[in-house]
């Protein structure tokens, strides 16, 4: 074993640590750089707001944006209230017994199921059994089932971060358990819950597998009329145009990827800013 002198070994370790960090960040930079470089030329107002033309080789991606938006919003409207209520129950009311522990374990493990399995499940239950057909509602329900454990977990963490002493103070004023949750716990947990929700939105915007069999179509010539329509979505559209269509101009593929990327990054940044803002204004 060669003994390096301490100064040298210090420099050497620093170099290795720095390189490891650089290695982790470089691919992300490269992805962003390549997507922006190749896609920026097609992204303009018309691209964002017009229908695809000529077998999707020309025109815009408006229906895919609308479809993504419709599915994501329906999903979050289903998941957020349910998830927050479940989190309140688990965190504030549930006694620590076998059943509760089993439920908590289940929730943690649900988050680890591959998303394509949710897709097949959603197809079996919502599309076939409940006869909702391939539709926004079937896709949103499938995504909700997938996202619910995440929302419950982030909401529980947010509720848990509200100091117990606030609850005690409120109870000792004769304020009931529910009123304490309603007036003290929830308002203070809200920033955390919202951050989790925004991150969930970002995550489900990019999901493909769960909606593959339950909501999306190769090409829909019109915007969705109702919750029971099939839709186009950005991630699936991206998959189609990059693998299924011959002579697809590269710029449109990268332009679509850029729009998806910007959407998701924007939401992640919103979540980060919300968190920073509330951390600064919170002193306990």
């Amino acid at each position: 074993m060669i003994k390096l002198n301490p100064k040298l070994s210090q420099k050497f370790s620093y170099l290795i640590l720095f390189l490891a960090t650089a290695l982790a960040i470089m691919p992300i930079m490269a992805i962003i750089f390549i997507i922006v470089k190749n896609g920026i030329s097609v992204v303009n107002w018309e691209f964002l707001t017009s229908m695809p033309k000529n077998g999707m080789r020309e025109g815009g991606i408006f229906p895919a944006i609308v479809g993504t938006f419709a599915i994501v919003m329906s999903t979050i409207m289903l998941t957020l209230p349910t998830g927050v209520c479940a989190a309140i129950y688990l965190n504030e009311y549930a006694r620590d017994n076998m059943l509760t522990r089993a439920i908590k374990l289940g929730i943690v493990n649900l988050a680890g199921i591959p998303s394509v399995v949710y897709g097949l499940f959603g197809f079996g239950i919502f599309v076939m059994f409940l006869k909702l057909g391939v539709s926004i509602i079937a896709g949103a329900l499938t995504l909700s089932i997938m996202e619910l454990p995440v929302i419950i977990t982030t909401s529980r963490n947010a509720l848990n971060s509200v100091p117990y002493s606030f609850r005690e103070a409120s109870w000792s004023l004769g304020v009931s358990r529910w009123q304490t949750i309603r007036h003290i716990v929830l308002p203070n947990a809200l920033p955390g819950i919202m951050t989790g929700a925004v991150l969930s939105i970002a995550r489900i915007s990019g999901e493909t597998a769960p909606i593959l069999f339950t909501a999306v179509a190769f090409y829909v010539p019109h915007l969705p009329h109702s919750m029971f329509d099939q839709v186009m979505t950005l991630p699936y559209h991206l998959y189609i145009i990059s693998t299924q269509i011959p002579n697809m101009p590269n710029s449109i593929i990268f332009g679509t990827a850029l729009v998806l990327l910007v959407m998701i990054l924007t939401m992640s940044f919103i979540a980060i800013f919300v968190r920073i803002y509330f951390r600064k204004h919170r002193k306990w």
Partner: protein, 251 residues
């Protein structure tokens, strides 16, 4: 009649027998302190009087605590009403992260005591005056309560309790996070409040017990060792353990 009558009261945290057969009568409009070394059950006893221990998992009790002749461990008791009558101030000042005004108004609003704005404002002012905080904060009532000093925060917490008009106030080591000057001020406040409320204080600080209280209870290993007039406990206690503790031989 005694205001608080504790009759052979036992409390278990799951398998740990924390309070052993406690019986004690606490009188009206006096300050009673509970002293004893860490882990002797003095906070647990205090927290049993407004049933805030109920919220801890695995707590079981037997025996009675009668407040105004009513057993508060009876199934018929509305715990929220009990806690409004028996207010509590905690070890660390724990104001809500809202404005000073809203902190005091909170209990009134949520419990719908004093329905209109004017009565609420009046009660807020009265409560803040009672804890001698009004003059300090009257110009910044809508500033965050967390901008106050620790001592002011603790006063605010007392005002918050007073606002819902309790008859008994429990203080769980209310001075342990304060500096000596602040402690002195809080003690003066407690003596002032004695005329209107029955006050029970848990404290680690024996000088404090000697300075402020009328009666003192000494607890050890979950048992009540001795309960008497404060002068008696500190000058001529009956039991050897009490004497050892108050003279600083252990604890």
């Amino acid at each position: 009649m005694s205001k608080i009558e504790i009759k052979s009261f036992n409390l278990y945290y799951t398998n740990f027998h924390a309070l052993k057969d406690i019986s004690i009568n606490i009188e009206d409009k006096r300050i009673t302190t509970i002293i004893g070394p860490s882990g002797c059950g003095k906070s647990t006893l205090l927290r049993s009087i407004n049933r805030i221990n109920d919220t801890i998992e695995g707590v079981r009790t037997s025996g009675e605590i009668n407040v105004y002749g009513e057993n508060i461990y009876d199934n018929k008791i509305d715990v929220d009403i009990l806690r409004r009558n028996v207010g509590m101030v905690f070890q660390r000042p724990n104001p809500f992260p809202i404005s000073i005004y809203e902190n005091v108004a909170f209990g009134l609003r949520v419990n719908r005591i004093g329905s209109n704005r004017w009565t609420i404002s009046e009660t807020v002012e009265k409560s803040l005056k009672a804890v001698l905080l009004w003059d300090n904060v009257k110009d910044r009532l809508h500033k965050s309560a967390l901008s106050l000093t620790l001592e002011e925060q603790q006063r605010l917490c007392i005002a918050r309790v007073i606002a819902v008009t309790p008859r008994i106030i429990l203080l769980d080591e209310p001075c342990s996070s304060l500096d000596p000057v602040a402690i002195q001020k809080i003690e003066e406040l407690m003596i002032q409040l004695k005329n209107r409320y029955t006050i029970i204080i848990v404290t680690h600080n024996m000088q404090q017990a000697a300075r402020v209280s009328n009666d003192t209870a000494f607890m050890l290993f979950g048992k009540l060792v001795e309960f008497d007039k404060t002068e008696k406990i500190f000058t001529n206690p009956l039991k050897k353990e009490t004497e050892d503790y108050v003279s600083g031989r252990f604890g």
